[in-house]
Symmetry: C2
Subunit: 731 residues, 2 copies
């Protein structure tokens, strides 16, 4: 998706309305009078939009039929919390419906509810269940208060013209002004913080400001509490939270969350101060923000769950629907985006949603979104490491390998430098645990992050990442981790048969340098692409090295004789996450290790270089978990000890297993062995051999990246030469 | 589906061909000359059928491009086994394609392959890897040899007229005659056995007989090795393996397997001896066989996996496609069957498949198959206990509760009298393990039944069934179990708000009588139907009683304080399956137990009557499993001790959990307590109470069933009266 900052012909009918600045009239936030006319005219003609409207109507009618309750705040996840959340959603929808239908009862509902808030809000101090560093008044944390204000401002804006001057004054004086000042001034640290919370806060304060015509509040929202553009503010958030290519620093799960205040407030600014050209900022970074968010999903639309993440989140989440619809309109027609909108099966309740619904009605079979191999830089300049995705067609689906070498990503980051995630058949095959949390589930600590999120999910051993001395990267110290990042080494997806990425880290473990290289390789002798994974650790001193593979599926076989804990089980260790792993089995290798499992309709085998110093350890999550908070997932781990070590493996999908037709083929892998031939400061050489005479030699530079450099390694009496950063020589 | 033994108008065009007897001409088995003409004429006009044809063509063209290999038999699951399987499939399809296209090369392929078998077969003795009680020659067990003959006879029949008399004589003398006689005479015990193996053997021998015009072989096939209709034979199989209502004695998984020889040979008989009126036999039991097979699936088409069963099997399995297509044609148009055919998305490669493909082209949106509540009797007269299904709409999906009180079901039966299985949202919620087997997976003991199938999956504790004294029903003795069955007590699905089934058993545990009653109850105060489960055990002496609930999903909470095995785990017991259960936690109840878990987008809570003598035990499968053959599934178990005990519980689906929209409601159950008020020889009285003043009294007769009887229990100073077998009084 190119950053075309113009509506295309396709969206032209809608664009007229969307781009019209609202001036001093109301509504002026997320709806303009012209858009209202357009939506009124469109009713009954655009099925997807009508469905959204009907859903909203049903919700509001139920609300109108019940007594309004604005309770005294009490709890952080119970009735009063949920009631205030429901109130803002109902107010916002009722305001919208008033505009679209002109029916006074919707406006009366908003007014009646605002009256109750106008009576309550001035009486509130800090929330009684406040526990966060930034408590709210209506809610236990100010973040929720921001979301309340984002919605209530829209409701107020929509019914503004139905209110008497006295009523307006009362609501502004008792609710919107004090809440906005509370958020911008009393909670200035949170407000100015470059963080998704800060983005929400700026958006909330700015929307209240525009709704009331309060220029100072708007300036604070745009330029920070000191209105200088340096302290904080929405523009600084936009400039610093996103990398130039649209990658969001906390990773895809929170990128999904923050995309909403970014798009919502961008739209509000555009409607009120089009001269700020917000959608063109940073050459249209908001366009790339949506594209990168979508690229960071599996083919099923699930966000790749590194850092704190819930695996249930997909691009069908409401905030992504909203962003995709606006991106369609703001950045011109992108048929691939329309493909996503089609799979979302729903549109936003605004002019952009209407435009997309129309576009889909006119073009019901848009091309599918184009997933591609890509490397994203992290940080405001894109130079703080990053995340790379390698993708290749794999049977009827797609293989996707992810290498993470980004910065830490603030509080929701994990200690998982150079970790790998791998999908095939649209399934997780090597998985990332995500976060230890059951969001919204009251029985699980009110749906909050669980203790095990810290003790397990964030720890290095919870990832497909190298663990040194059974410890956690950065010693598990957030302050140390937050200011460090790995480095991109090289990335090349130009050869569809040999896509490769490499990254390095010297920060995560003192005295240990790591380089990990992934290659997605296709070969006529293999039914599916295979993932070659070479991780080299170097140190001046000896260390224990553990490399876990969290495989999803059912274990079938290994060539390593295993001692299995059949009648008594103990945890693998005492801390750094090891205390949560049951030791299921262990064995000692006597050459390349093979480990095979079944997932869906395919077999998967990891063939890994190993010697008699290598142990194979099988584990399962669940020890020291008194509340059964963790999922009991399995892993195997390659364990060895030394100063300089190379873990080299090939993950090969193979065969077909069809339980419905009782049919199988290819139950054993083609790749038979992986051996490290050389590993020097110059480079690493790995030999891969398989059935049918398959023999590959993979060479990787360990020097500075240079795609044209002539490379040469002499080791063990042999000389290996190649050009560029990595090469695969095939027999 | 009514047993209408006539083709309807809908299928009339095809019916002419299907019903035409073949006389002495070829083909005469599963194709007739008239059908061949019809299929030739239809090519290119019926997409689903053309797809089947194209798939077959692709397979055969690949075979024609490769050298023919008819290897010396060696292995039971390796190359020679798979090669002989592939050969029969390729021959059968090539024969079919010869008929349909008239291209000589297809016939030549069949001939060339038969020449090789004609050379090999006479040289063979018993298979070198034979281990079964009935070894074959080409294959390790004669069952596979039967399947070979079923296919090869069709191939021979199709190319018959292209062969010289010498060639025919050679093939018949060297292959078909000796193989048929081997199966019918040398393997007479297997041939006459009333069992799916016997059905396959009769079908194979009969098809060879019809193909060669050998009346004696045909008679043996129809009437048993002694041709007396008493020893065995296909008709006796049909008469004794199915209950009058079409229930197959081994349960749905093997019903799916045996439906193929039943329908294949029925079709062959009809084509050759229509005067035998095979499709009308037992008032059309083959029609009800298909209907009951389909009723015994979940809404996703998965066969309910009691007894030895693989959960991957669905009604999309090829043998079910074949049976559904023929049932459509033979028993008249059933639009619901057509609904299944649509979901199968494929048709059989024969005249019936063509008829169904045409019907679907004409009626692309047939009504969905109608799942209903039904009780099936087991045994030839339907009097040997049975299986009951209670179904009710549940949100957008369906609740399904299964009570099993059948006979044992031969070697693949499990020791699970009065066990329960429960589905909701199209998901297993209380699950049956099925069999411990990874079918076709060579790494798992060649895909055969694993040792753990006996030591775990068949054991009582592996089921949602009452375990007495930590032992297995019938002492785990097959001979004892095979001749016993539970008894139907009563079944009534006439009240959609209170569907109920009850069954009893006095055979499974010496000195212990059990009665289990399930009710699927709807109530305006509950979002979904709830499953009430009352199990009463009576004995003259005290016993330990364990009642497991194998819940699928993630545990959330229980009201019982649990001691959790966090740092060391041990098996729950030493044998009868207990050795495979890790003890995860245990606690003692102090009143009704509540146990809540999450599955899909709903919460589930079991609320069970309990007192301070009741323990709650949490387990996970996986101990003493050195090859990791078992799935690590969780259960909780109610454990108590006494002579007469009642386990009464309500399983309530509640709320909504939507991780994509981050939304939840109803995380806590409405039902709060279940108490047993009385349990006498007259009846059992259970009180169920919940939020909103919900108060139910369930009364169940423990006397003989009589839907009109006036019932009365006096217990604990109170009198309970009702009419019929069970009643639910609601406040």
């Amino acid at each position: 998706m190119k950053a075309v900052v113009a509506a295309s012909i396709f969206f032209a009918a809608c664009a007229v309305a969307v781009f019209a600045a609202s001036g001093g009239v109301h509504p002026r936030l997320l709806l303009t009078p012209a858009e209202v006319q357009e939506i009124r005219a469109a009713r009954g003609h655009t099925p997807l939009f009508d469905a959204a409207l009907a859903e909203a109507t049903a919700k509001v009618e139920r609300a109108l039929a019940a007594p309004i309750d604005v309770p005294q705040p009490k709890d952080a996840a119970g009735y009063t919390h949920e009631r205030h959340k429901a109130n803002y959603a109902e107010m916002q929808l009722a305001g919208f419906l008033y505009q679209v239908t002109g029916e006074a009862r919707y406006a009366a509902f908003v007014k009646a509810m605002l009256e109750k808030y106008a009576a309550l809000y001035p009486t509130l101090g800090n929330h009684p269940a406040a526990a966060s560093s930034s408590p709210g008044r209506l809610f236990h944390q100010s973040l929720n208060e921001c979301v309340w204000l984002v919605h209530a401002s829209q409701a107020y804006d929509c019914v503004h013209d139905t209110l008497t001057p006295d009523e307006r004054a009362r609501f502004e004086k008792n609710i919107f002004e004090p809440m906005a000042h509370f958020l911008a001034d009393e909670r200035a640290a949170e407000f100015d913080r470059i963080h998704n919370h800060g983005t929400w806060a700026a958006t909330a304060v700015g929307m209240a400001g525009y709704a009331m015509g309060d220029d100072e509040l708007v300036k604070k929202a745009l330029y920070g509490s000191k209105m200088d553009g340096k302290t904080g503010g929405w523009f600084k958030q936009l400039d610093e939270l996103y990398a130039p290519d649209g990658y969001y620093c906390e990773g895809p799960y929170y990128a999904r969350y923050v995309i909403m205040p970014f798009y919502v407030f961008a739209q509000v600014i555009e409607n009120n101060q089009p001269e700020l050209k917000v959608f063109a900022r940073r050459d249209g970074v908001l366009c790339r923000a949506v594209d990168s968010l979508l690229q960071l999903t599996s083919v099923n639309g699930e966000f790749i769950p590194f850092n704190d993440a819930m695996k249930e989140k997909t691009f069908q989440s409401p905030e992504v629907i909203l962003a995709v619809d606006w991106a369609c309109v703001r950045y011109g027609r992108d048929a691939h985006l329309l493909g996503i909108a089609k799979r979302q099966g729903a549109v936003a309740l605004n002019a952009a949603g209407l435009a997309v619904a129309r576009a889909l009605a006119a073009n019901p079979q848009p091309p599918a979104f184009e997933y591609r191999s890509v490397a994203y830089g992290d940080g405001p300049r894109g130079t703080d490491g990053g995340v790379a995705l390698l993708r290749a067609k794999s049977g009827g689906s797609q293989s996707l390998a992810v290498l993470k070498y980004s910065a830490f990503g603030m509080e929701h980051g994990h200690y998982d430098k150079l970790s790998v995630i791998y999908y095939d058949q649209g399934r997780e095959i090597l998985s990332d645990y995500g976060s230890a949390r059951w969001v919204n589930v009251e029985q699980k600590w009110g749906g909050r992050y669980l203790k095990e999120n810290k003790t397990y999910a964030k720890q290095t051993v919870a990832h497909n990442a190298l663990v040194v001395d059974q410890s956690t990267q950065y010693g598990g110290d957030y302050e140390a981790a937050e200011h460090q990042h790995s480095d991109a080494h090289f990335f090349d997806a130009s050869d569809a048969d040999f896509q490769v990425v490499s990254a390095r880290d010297t920060t995560a473990v003192k005295g240990v340098a790591m380089q990990r290289t992934l290659a997605l390789v296709r070969d006529p002798r293999l039914a599916f692409p295979v993932l070659v994974d070479v991780l080299r650790a170097t140190s001046a001193t000896e260390h224990d090295y553990d490399l876990p593979f969290y495989y999803q599926g059912h274990f079938l076989a290994t060539n390593v004789p295993m001692k299995v804990a059949t009648t008594e089980r103990h945890p693998l260790g005492k801390d750094h996450g090891y205390q949560h792993l049951w030791l299921e089995a262990e064995g000692t290798a006597s050459g390349p290790v093979q480990f095979t499992w079944l997932n869906g309709s395919r077999y998967y085998t990891v063939t890994a270089a190993a010697d008699a110093a290598t142990q194979l350890v099988m584990t399962r999550i669940g020890a020291n978990d008194p509340n059964f908070n963790l999922r009991n997932e399995a892993a195997f781990m390659l364990r060895t000890r030394g100063a300089n070590k190379v873990f080299a493996s090939v993950l090969e999908p193979h065969g077909v297993w069809d339980g419905t037709k009782e049919f199988t083929t290819g139950g054993f892998p083609t790749i038979k062995s992986v051996r490290v031939l050389a590993a020097t400061d110059e480079g690493t050489v790995v030999a891969i051999a398989g059935a049918g005479g398959l023999a590959w030699t993979l060479t990787i530079t360990n020097r500075a990246a240079d795609a044209k450099a002539e490379r040469r390694i002499e080791a063990n009496g042999k000389t290996y030469t190649w050009t560029g950063n990595a090469a695969l020589r095939r027999n």
